[in-house]
């Protein structure tokens, strides 16, 4: 399934490319693992006992791997206060999958301190990023 992967030599068109003021990391390699994800290299975010997301440039070595690099928009934001305006999820219990902006699905992880990374379906990425920029304005940022 090479058609699932972004080709080399072609510019990566991030879903967030038209939003200013967002820390876009959508280009990061994102791989969905089905089945056991124990012992995999890279940053492994466990979603369920037989589902995980691996973030990294190299395709993980597992029997069932799906390239979700282009499927998920990813960006980082600073501040618990902003996160609390985005989601009801418990910020002390991350990473977690849940709803942001009253109903948009997202995977949220803490990148240390008050820095958070959000993964959202790329087709909703522009909308989410725009809204997050607007919410940050409400906090005077």
């Amino acid at each position: 399934m090479r058609f699932m992967s972004h080709p080399e030599g072609v510019e990566f068109a991030s879903p967030l490319r038209h939003v200013d003021g967002i820390d876009d990391v959508s280009h990061l390699g994102k791989w969905e693992i089905r089945g056991d994800a124990h012992g995999l290299d890279g940053e492994v975010i466990r979603i369920s006992p037989d589902r995980a997301l691996v973030v990294g440039d190299r395709r993980p070595d597992a029997p069932r791997v799906y390239d979700m690099t282009a499927a998920l928009a990813a960006f980082e934001v600073e501040g618990e206060d902003l996160m609390r305006r985005l989601t009801e999820l418990d910020l002390d219990e991350l990473p977690a999958i849940g709803s942001i902006l009253r109903g948009t699905p997202a995977l949220i992880e803490r990148r240390g301190g008050e820095r958070f990374r959000l993964y959202v379906p790329q087709e909703l990425g522009h909308y989410v990023a725009e809204t997050v920029v607007d919410l940050a304005k409400g906090l005077g940022r």
Binding site: F3, P7, P15, M68, R85, E123, H126, Y127, T131, G138
Partner: protein
């Protein structure tokens, strides 16, 4: 009437603020509220009452009552007694015709009484029915509160979610002590803020310790492990004729005016009190030089007569047991009632205590604690009478809604004798104070009139919100989740007219839809179909899973081949449709309708789990961009952009193949939703623009949804959800060939039942004999009666006719049957056409 600085005053006289009231500049100091500054400037009338337009003045100075509500900077119903002064604020009276002091609508107070008894609008204004909109408009204008959007202000509202271990509601002594005592992450909320408390009003307590707090521009949604309610006690008014006159106050009103704001409330006062609060108010009045002419302590003195007399709505004297005392201030205190509302919402029981004459919360839920006055920790007060006699003035039980003692009696006489019914009929307790100043009074009066007791009457159900809240705050920010295709910005750049399809924004057309149709028929078009649902089904049981999900056969589908499939529900109804491509022995690529991807994915996962198959179901809708390259020149254009062999032998109709196009690996599906030679190319979303640009550069004309709808209708291709509905089945939709003989598939039994019973209607194609275009939804008529409906219709230049799809009776579904279709009241002839209107044999698709 500001007096010399008082010890402990809450104002800073060095910091003046100026605002505008009715065109006049009013100055207050830091620590003042708009209400106190207006009072200091001599204003006594602050509002006109809801129904009778009676003048009303400051009463509680605590934000409990409706008396000081005005419109501030376009925001209606702002309680001025708790709204801090600020420079430049524009304050206007509301619900008046004329001015506060001369409100022309106050005529309702003089003559309205006999004509506007309780519930009059339920009875007198219902006939004739067609006049109700007029009546309603009239009533809305003469009764009520402020009007929204007067200045067209668009305020920003935000919502913030917070988690705490302990949430303490109420920043009085008990609340502050509880907060200091509590362990963990503790937060104190208070309506007036201060002392480290978050300024905001708790609106309710919901399941799971959820407490929404109204903080003006931000709605905080707290999740608390433990909730401490310290909402205190609410000073209760007494019920007697004239108890709403300007000058009648509760003790706290006097306390704040005199102590916090150094204002002398009046010249001569009378105090009637059931507790110490009234006596303290008497002391406060004396301290600022107001003469206290008479103090009635109901704990030691029994009175039977009490009435306030006024001139033009303002207090001039008080009658106590036959004795008239001239005064301009009357302090009334009926004791304090625990503010138990939030506790009751949380599930506490409320019990009447006859000795103290108050309702006290008991049996609190585990995660909720009550402290201080809210818990019933109140010193003894006399229990006042349900009402006092003595004059012929109106005797108000509920000042928010202008409900008098007479109204309650009348409601009772009409049979509304339970508190819940009386509440709804009289609307007592349903106004802005939400029962703070009238709940206990209503219960007491019902108890007296029905000769029972307060315990037997009981309380009404406490519900959120506990106090008025702006709808904008509850609504929060306006979110409109918009799904954008990876090619979205290309469409915008090309000037496409965009339209909503579900949550997706898609191009309707880029210019002239007819020209785009022509391009596809004559040369080459390209349409963005990234919105199609896309699902990978992989695993040893993948083929069997699909075989059992679809009425079609998939187990025998060869690798590299595609088949159109329709999903049926358990009831045999059409659920979704799309194509299934077999990419490997254990690997399938399924497409669904644009709005169906999530529900189809869930459907697959559900049955996969039920049957216990080993198959992965991966929704890759967003992962991939997809375009349909269609037209007689499609092969030539594709061939120029790829090294792969795309000849008709190497890539046949209904073949699926991975090829690289313009440097982008694509899954090429040779299928045709439109009637020309075509290829669907699916690639990584992030490379979609690159592929699109290459195709457009090769001369492909972008076409939108509207031209696509014409093109697919020429092929009589059905759109699930437009031409079918939740009742349609495969047989009635004219797709019996989908259903294969096999042991099982979802909906098999139901489809067989339909086969046995026969169908009641049938989806057919039709052409209009004339050139008139029936609207979608037009009726198919027989002998003047509707027997069917049009679901799709378009003018097709290619066919040279108006074509469409319609549901008709099975008896009228044979090829060539004449139909009548009603357009704008007249019936027009049409002919049933079962074969596709264009290229019926599909030669173009296979060419």
């Amino acid at each position: 009437m500001r007096i010399a600085p008082q010890p402990g005053e809450r104002i800073d006289r060095r910091k003046p603020f100026t605002f505008e009231y009715d065109g006049a500049k009013i100055t207050g100091f830091e620590g003042d509220t708009i209400g106190s500054a207006l009072y200091a400037a001599g204003r006594r009338v602050f509002s006109r009452s809801f129904k009778y337009h009676r003048p009303r003045g400051l009463l509680c100075c605590s934000g409990d009552c409706p008396n000081c509500m005005m419109t501030v900077d376009g925001v209606p119903n702002v309680r001025l007694c708790v709204e801090p002064v600020r420079d430049g604020a524009v304050v206007r009276a509301q619900n008046v015709l004329g001015s506060l002091d001369r409100d022309l609508l106050s005529i309702t107070d003089k003559i309205g009484g006999p004509f506007t008894p309780v519930g009059f609008y339920y009875r007198t204004m219902i006939r004739p029915r067609r006049l109700w909109p007029l009546y309603e408009k009239f009533l809305r204008n003469v009764a009520g509160l402020g009007k929204i959007g007067e200045n067209g202000t668009h305020r920003r509202y935000d919502t913030e979610h917070r988690r705490v271990d302990v949430l303490v509601i109420g920043g009085g002594r008990a609340g502050r002590e509880a907060a200091a005592r509590a362990e963990g992450d503790v937060l104190l909320v208070d309506e007036h803020g201060g002392g480290g408390a978050l300024k905001g009003r708790a609106l309710g307590i919901y399941e799971g310790g959820l407490v929404p707090v109204d903080a003006g521009d931000v709605l905080y949604r707290f999740r608390a492990e433990r909730i401490v309610v310290a909402t205190g006690g609410i000073e209760q008014p007494l019920v007697f004729p004239g108890n709403d006159l300007v000058g009648v106050m509760l003790p706290n009103g006097v306390r704040r005016l005199t102590r916090d704001w150094s204002i002398k409330p009046g010249e001569r006062a009378v105090v009637v009190t059931a507790d110490d609060a009234g006596l303290e108010a008497a002391g406060d009045l004396r301290a600022v030089g107001t003469e206290v002419a008479r103090v009635v302590d109901l704990r030691s003195e029994r009175i039977v007569q009490l009435a306030a007399v006024g001139k033009r709505g303002r207090l001039s004297a008080v009658l106590v047991d036959g004795e008239a005392v001239d005064c301009d201030v009357l302090v009334m205190s009926g004791g304090r009632q625990p503010a138990y509302s939030l506790l009751a919402q949380a599930g506490a029981r409320v019990e009447y205590e006859p000795r103290r004459g108050i309702f006290v919360p008991t049996e609190l839920p585990e995660n909720v604690e009550a402290v201080g006055s809210a818990a019933g920790d109140l010193e003894g007060a006399a229990v006042p009478a349900a009402s006092y006699d003595g004059g012929d003035g109106k005797c108000f039980v509920c000042i928010c809604e202008d409900v008098t003692e007479k109204d309650v009696k009348r409601a009772l006489a009409e049979g509304f004798d339970s508190i819940e019914l009386a509440k709804r009929y009289t609307t007592a307790t349903m106004g802005p104070c939400q029962g703070r100043l009238c709940h206990l009074q209503s219960i007491r009066m019902l108890a007296r009139e029905t000769e029972t007791d307060e315990a037997a009457i009981g309380t009404t159900t406490a519900r959120p919100p506990w106090g008025p809240v702006e709808l904008g705050l509850l609504a929060g920010r306006h979110y409109e989740a918009m799904k954008r295709s990876p090619l979205h910005f290309r469409h915008e750049e090309a000037g496409a007219t965009m339209m909503w399809t579900g949550a997706w924004r898609r191009p309707f057309a880029y210019g002239d839809p007819a020209a785009e149709v022509r391009a596809v028929h004559e040369s080459l078009g390209v349409i963005d179909v990234s919105t199609l649902g896309k699902i990978i089904v992989e695993g040893p049981d993948a083929a069997e899973l699909l075989e059992r999900l679809y009425p079609n056969r998939f187990a025998d589908l060869a690798v590299g081949r595609i088949r159109y499939g329709v999903l049926t529900t358990d009831g045999g109804r059409i659920m979704d449709d799309g194509t299934v491509a077999r990419l490997g022995d254990d690997l399938f690529y399924v497409t669904t309708t644009s709005t169906g991807s999530e529900s189809v994915c869930e459907w697959f996962e559900w049955w996969n789990a039920v049957w216990g198959y080993d198959a992965e179901i991966v929704n890759v809708t967003g992962a991939l961009a997809a375009v349909n390259l269609a037209g007689p020149q499609a092969r030539e254009a594709l061939g120029a952009l790829t090294d792969a062999d795309v000849s008709n032998d190497a890539l046949k109709y209904l073949d699926a193949k991975e090829i690289t196009v313009a440097g982008v690996p694509c899954l090429a599906l040779r299928i045709g939703f439109v009637g020309e030679l075509g290829y669907e190319l699916h690639c990584a979303a992030s490379a979609g623009e690159h592929l699109w640009d290459a195709l457009v550069a090769r001369g492909a004309v972008p076409f939108g949804l509207e031209p696509q709808r014409v093109l697919r209708l020429e092929k009589a291709h059905v759109i699930v959800g437009q031409d079918t509905d939740s009742e349609s089945n495969l047989l009635s939709a004219g797709m019996p060939w989908i259903v294969k003989e096999k042991p099982d598939f979802v909906g098999k039994w139901a489809v067989e039942l339909v086969e046995e019973r026969g169908i009641r209607e049938r989806l057919v194609g039709f052409t209009m004999d004339g050139g008139l275009l029936p609207p979608e939804g037009a009726q198919v008529v027989e002998n003047g009666k509707s027997t069917g409906r049009v679901t799709s219709s378009r003018v097709s230049e290619q066919v040279g006719k108006v074509i469409g799809l319609a549901w008709v009776r099975p008896e009228r579904a044979d090829d060539g049957t004449r139909l009548s279709i009603r357009i704008a009241g007249a019936d027009h002839p049409a002919t049933v056409t079962l074969a596709p209107f264009y290229d019926a044999e599909g030669a173009k698709l296979r060419s």
